[in-house]
């Protein structure tokens, strides 16, 4: 089955917001970089803006942009996040662990649950549809995507799907023991709309998650075989975590562009989408092995 993409939008440390094709501006992250946030006032009221953390701002702005770009009303929402609303979680932790009085402001707690991102999207859009939040470490985006594929299969016409994560200073303390330090810690969010009408010509073909209990090449090869393809058919592989010796026509390590956040494969998928269009090529594969023990494989095709 083909799951067509109607639109894609990202806010990252790249100049990615509202770009017709990401590849006009993409460069590997240099020493100096920061989140390239849009003017949020265009999307969010000043009163809301004050209390919203970066991950919530990114989610709402992207969702509004996606909704504005399509004719249909979004009829399902599936968001992945690896670590959720870290800024508000930390803020509330500090509040409760240092509080001297018995009364606490609930705002940070209210906004700390993982599904605040998707929940705020439903609130800001006034959207009553299916609303799901998946959190599976580095495979959170792929989980959200599989759910979106199920929605598509159920006949949904405009499924909003993607992932968002935010970095906080505290994460640096966890390097390199809990979090790898090969790439800079970054924040980022990407949302797609899936639907069969008025699409970009690029579709998801398959998404699979494997426990890496065997040779990586074998895992990828079997996945491609299931889709009647071989490694030679892949015009570009966007990979992270492991470089394979398979014969892809081209391959790009994506963390050098995204920086490290655990749902960065969502932006890599947006990169792959735009790459296929810009290069006029057929197949791209996103190989997400950011967490060593598991691998996510996402196959995209341009029709």
């Amino acid at each position: 089955m083909k799951y067509f993409i109607k639109t894609a939008a990202s806010i990252t440390h790249q100049n990615s917001f509202d770009q017709e094709n990401l590849w006009k501006n993409l460069t590997p992250l240099s020493e100096e970089h920061s989140l390239q946030a849009p003017d949020y006032k265009v999307y969010i009221s000043p009163a809301s803006l004050r209390r919203l953390s970066p991950v919530l701002r990114m989610g709402i702005a992207l969702a509004k942009q996606c909704q504005a770009r399509i004719k249909e009303e979004i009829d399902a929402i599936s968001v992945g996040t690896a670590l959720g609303c870290l800024a508000d979680t930390e803020k509330f932790l500090v509040n409760i662990l240092t509080a001297t009085s018995d009364t606490l402001s609930p705002t940070a707690f209210i906004q700390s649950t993982h599904n605040t991102i998707a929940g705020q999207i439903s609130l800001e859009l006034g959207n009553h549809s299916y609303n799901m939040t998946h959190t599976q470490n580095a495979l959170s985006f792929e989980m959200a995507l599989i759910d979106a594929m199920l929605c598509y299969g159920d006949g949904k016409q405009a499924t909003l799907v993607g992932a968002a994560d935010e970095a906080i200073e505290f994460l640096k303390i966890l390097q390199p023991f809990v979090i790898q330090d090969q790439f800079p810690l970054t924040s980022g969010a990407t949302l797609f709309v899936l639907g069969e009408k008025e699409h970009t010509g690029v579709c998801f073909v398959d998404c699979a998650l494997m426990l890496q209990n065997e040779n990586m090449e074998d895992i990828i090869f079997r996945f491609l075989q299931k889709n009647q393809l071989s490694d030679h058919d892949i015009d570009c592989a966007f990979y992270a975590g492991i470089k394979t010796t398979l014969n892809f026509r081209e391959s790009i390590e994506f963390l050098q562009y995204t920086g490290l956040y655990y749902s960065a494969s969502a932006f890599a998928t947006h990169m792959a989408h735009d790459w296929l269009i810009k290069q006029g090529k057929k197949y791209a594969l996103v190989i997400n092995n950011v967490c060593g023990n598991q691998v996510g494989l996402t196959l995209l095709a341009r029709e």
Partner: protein, 392 residues
């Protein structure tokens, strides 16, 4: 395609397995009492009387992890007991949790703030996804491992996601449910919202003030017919309906007209192909907050009319176990189907003035119960309904 339930497991303050919980439900014995931990001692909570080491010993756990993980392992192991892993049956685990390993991180982060010995390796247990990976490791499941985090509707959504994975043919069998441990983080959070009752909670009562928190885990095993032919499992119930909808009203409060709840119940009935009058029992979300119970009552009346089927909130026994509640309550729904029994809503005296609905107040035996509807509503206006039905 039918989705069958072939196993269930539970740990909560009213029992460390399904049998213990069933006996407590019949005896109308609540698990809510004064807390045992420094962060819970001032409050009435549904806490489990075992330390983490106690849980490991009691349930012979091989995998270590956060308390949320350990509770999940205990319940998931009971649910999966007797189910053999097989290459022919693609088996997954989908678990819901709201705060994952927060019980570990809040202690370690406190050390960090106090500039005491700070062991960063502890945070490995923090991510919600990791709690599910640890439960999967304990069960030996590795075909598909996913975590849903939609606050208090997490387990119901995990059950729903499992059913959809079976229907789409991506999995043959899936262990679904949720787990959450009590933490200082959540107790402080609900207190900051001022929806915390310092006395025993009174769902659907005019004098209700708020919720009591609890901890626990509840899991069920879903299988397709094909999977059951290979596994030889026998069905104890069917999962016939499911739905999730957004209230899109407020980040924490439910809409006065129960818009999201009406949508989720209506759509779940449509998935099950049932009319409202075919529902024999509603296990309500019923947190005992002024806002939820009024909104849910209004929604129930909008779907079922002036005389809805018997309903109750069993959170008066377990406390609100957050992400686990949909899993624990799915097991309660199955007990209701299997035994033809309606479980009461403890501590109820006066109906809510606006709706006048009276929940089940005593154990009612000898009922013919074919379809049970179970609601779970979460922060962010996340409304979910599942329907469990008797095996035909």
């Amino acid at each position: 395609m039918n989705v069958y339930v072939t196993g269930c497991g539970v740990v909560s303050s009213i029992g460390l397995n399904v049998d213990e919980m069933y006996r407590a439900l019949l005896a109308q014995k609540t698990g809510i009492k004064q807390g045992l931990n420094d962060f819970s001692t001032r409050f009435k909570v549904g806490e489990i009387d075992l330390t983490n080491q106690g849980l490991i010993d009691r349930f012979h756990l091989r995998t270590n992890g956060s308390r949320t993980s350990l509770l999940g392992m205990a319940a998931a192991k009971e649910a999966f007991d007797g189910h053999l892993l097989s290459n022919e049956i693609k088996t997954g685990l989908i678990s819901g949790t709201s705060v994952g390993g927060m019980d570990v991180s809040e202690k370690e982060y406190h050390n960090f703030l106090k500039r005491e010995k700070h062991d960063v390796s502890k945070y490995k247990d923090h991510p919600s996804g990791t709690t599910t990976e640890q439960i999967a490791m304990e069960l030996g499941i590795n075909d598909f491992v996913n975590t849903i985090s939609t606050a208090c509707s997490s387990a119901a959504n995990a059950i729903m996601m499992g059913a959809r994975m079976l229907k789409s043919g991506r999995l043959d069998r899936v262990v679904v449910g949720g787990t959450d441990s009590l933490t200082k983080f959540t107790i402080s959070g609900f207190r900051s919202l001022m929806i915390f009752d310092e006395e025993w909670c009174r769902p659907f009562d005019e004098t209700r003030k708020g919720l009591n928190l609890g901890e626990g885990a509840g899991f069920i095993v879903l299988e397709t017919e094909r999977s059951m032919q290979i596994s030889g499992s026998s069905p104890m119930a069917r999962l016939t309906g499911w739905s999730n909808a957004s209230d899109a009203y407020h980040q924490t409060a439910s809409s006065p007209d129960g818009a999201g709840a009406v949508l989720s119940m209506k759509q779940a009935l449509a998935v099950a192909g049932l009319e409202p009058n075919q529902i024999d029992y509603i296990n309500a979300h019923g947190t005992a907050t002024p806002n939820n119970d009024l909104s849910e009552s209004t929604a129930i009346k909008r779907i079922f009319g002036e005389t809805p089927p018997p309903f109750s909130s069993t959170k008066s026994y377990t406390g609100h176990t957050l992400a686990a509640s949909g899993g624990i309550e799915a097991v309660i729904a199955i007990l209701s189907l299997q035994n033809g029994v309606l479980f009461p809503n403890l501590n109820h005296q006066t109906p809510i003035a606006e709706t006048g609905l009276i929940p089940v107040k005593n154990v009612v035996l000898g009922q013919s119960i074919k379809h049970v509807l179970s609601n779970s509503f979460g922060f962010g206006g996340n409304n979910s309904t599942i329907i469990l039905s008797a095996v035909e």
